[in-house]
């Protein structure tokens, strides 16, 4: 069942071609705007990938909610429905991230390319469940998109050393970008990975809890014989 849900979800995503093109173009626009500064370019590219994947997750989960409720009524597990859709989103996100990793490798002289791959991967891993959490907490597309806008824009402009930036889900991306681009010590890597683990766990658990609450039908008892 998990693979069937992931497969159909992936087909749905790929058929929303204009939305997909816009999602792919967003990180490129961010990257192009700061391409003269390698550190900033990679940082904005990664945040753009995160924003794009989270938005894709938001629209995917909002769009499928009615169908998922119907599937849950006839026996699908809310966990399988969430995991199947997340698998499709992660696959799409990793593909986009992979394409941008090639761009960075070709166009930028970065200190640690493997760390760029790591930060793009961790960004996708946080963004997909983040979009799911927002979609399940705010079940309308406009409200969800505005919430993501608030989160991502704040993440971009907040002082990285301040408490606000650290409380946001993609602070790890900034730390890992610094480690990848600049000649810094391992503390940036460790802090980044620690924050990623916490943000991922929080988003994944939040998405799972929200999916169970939203999708799980009440199952009445079998009728007693007449």
């Amino acid at each position: 069942m998990l693979l069937a849900i992931a497969g159909t979800s992936l087909r749905e995503l790929t058929r929303r071609r204009s939305a997909l093109l816009l999602v792919i173009a967003l990180p490129l626009a961010f990257y192009s705007a700061r391409s003269d500064e390698p550190g900033q370019a990679v940082r904005f590219l990664a945040l753009g990938v995160g924003w794009a994947v989270a938005t894709l997750a938001l629209f995917s989960h909002v769009g499928s909610r009615h169908l998922d409720r119907r599937l849950a009524v006839v026996g699908a597990s809310p966990t399988a429905l969430l995991l199947g859709r997340q698998l499709a989103l992660l696959g799409t996100g990793f593909t986009i991230a992979g394409a941008y990793l090639v761009l960075v490798a070709v166009a930028q002289d970065v200190e640690r390319l493997w760390a760029v791959a790591l930060l793009l991967g961790t960004t996708v891993l946080v963004a997909a469940p983040l979009g799911a959490v927002v979609s399940l907490a705010l079940p309308r597309e406009l409200e969800g998109a505005l919430a993501l806008l608030a989160i991502m824009a704040t993440q971009m402009i907040a002082d990285p050393e301040g408490a606000l930036a650290k409380a946001l889900p993609l602070w790890s991306t900034r730390e890992l970008t610094t480690y990848a681009i600049e000649s810094t010590g391992d503390e940036f890597l460790h802090r980044g990975l620690l924050h990623f683990a916490a943000a991922f766990a929080l988003c994944a658990c939040g998405a799972w809890a929200a999916a169970v609450v939203r999708l799980r039908p009440s199952v009445p008892p079998e009728p007693a014989p007449a």
Binding site: H66, L71, V74, P217, E222, P223
Partner: protein, 274 residues
């Protein structure tokens, strides 16, 4: 046309309309006696034989609404006892009782806002009743009124997805879906996603998905929306075929005709503010 010819035509049409032969003979003799007593040609007294026979046959047909059917009842598949639903101060449903067995059809009717869809959602389990008891079989099929299909998936992909949930093989799910679609006069075309189908055809897909696993209880919420007349008749034929195959069927409808064969007619009253 002579009087005898008129009466000959009249009785023939009565029989064609399904009136019992003895009853048809009696009606014909009565109309002949009336014409003789009035000393008029039957066409002058009653009008054309065909029109008069059709009207008389409709009146002579036994009223089958809620008539007990000569079928053995299966086990109870749905039982509602005193089901009430309230949204804050607004009471949508009050004290709804219904017992539906396998092999029976229940129609839920009522005006807009009477709580028909709410009742179906309570039966499906997507919303909870405020009070009362709901008991139902676990194996259900469910066709909601809206958003029952995914706009970017083809019919075949829907069949595979729902088939996977019902633990059916992909081939079996697609073959079953195509067979059920044919019963509604529709042949799904490859590569056409649901958003490209007409409203009526999307609704057929919705209905087919509700029946894909041959459930014990089928819940349908106004399933005929967008249907043409033939599809509408096909749907009811399908509903009675499911019933005859042993399923319990609960149909929400606001159309009061074609309910002459249902086993239960549950008419909901309008909403009430408290």
């Amino acid at each position: 046309m002579t009087g005898d010819e008129w009466h000959g035509s009249f009785i023939r049409i009565l029989l064609d309309q399904g009136v019992d032969p003895i009853e048809a003979q009696r009606i014909s003799e009565d109309s002949r006696a009336e014409a003789i007593a009035a000393r008029r040609h039957p066409a002058q007294l009653f009008g054309p034989a065909a029109a008069y026979a059709t009207a008389v046959a409709r009146a002579a047909r036994p009223a089958p609404l809620n008539a007990p059917l000569a079928r053995a009842k299966g086990p109870v598949v749905l039982r509602l006892t005193g089901v009430t639903k309230r949204y804050r101060r607004r009471e949508v449903l009050r004290g709804v009782d219904l017992t539906l067995h396998a092999g029976e059809v229940a129609a839920v009717t009522g005006a807009n806002g009477a709580g028909k869809s709410t009742l179906l959602d309570i039966c499906a389990g997507t919303i909870k009743a405020t009070s009362g008891v709901v008991e139902r079989t676990a194996r259900i099929g469910y066709a909601p009124q809206q958003h029952g299909v995914a706009p970017y998936l083809t019919a075949e992909e829907h069949f595979r997805l729902f088939g996977a949930v019902h633990r059916m093989g992909a081939r079996k799910a697609v073959a079953t879906g195509a067979h059920l679609a044919a019963g509604l006069g529709w042949r799904p075309r490859a590569g056409v996603v649901a958003s490209q189908l007409s409203g009526g055809t999307q609704q057929k897909l919705n209905v087919v998905l509700g029946e894909l696993s041959r459930p014990d209880l089928i819940l349908l919420d106004e399933p005929y929306q967008g249907f043409d007349q033939d599809s509408y008749l096909d749907l009811w034929a399908q509903v009675y075929a499911w019933r005859d195959a042993g399923a319990g069927v609960l149909v929400v409808t606001h159309l009061l005709h074609d309910l002459d064969k249902v086993d239960h007619l549950l008419e909901l009253q309008g909403a009430e503010d408290r």
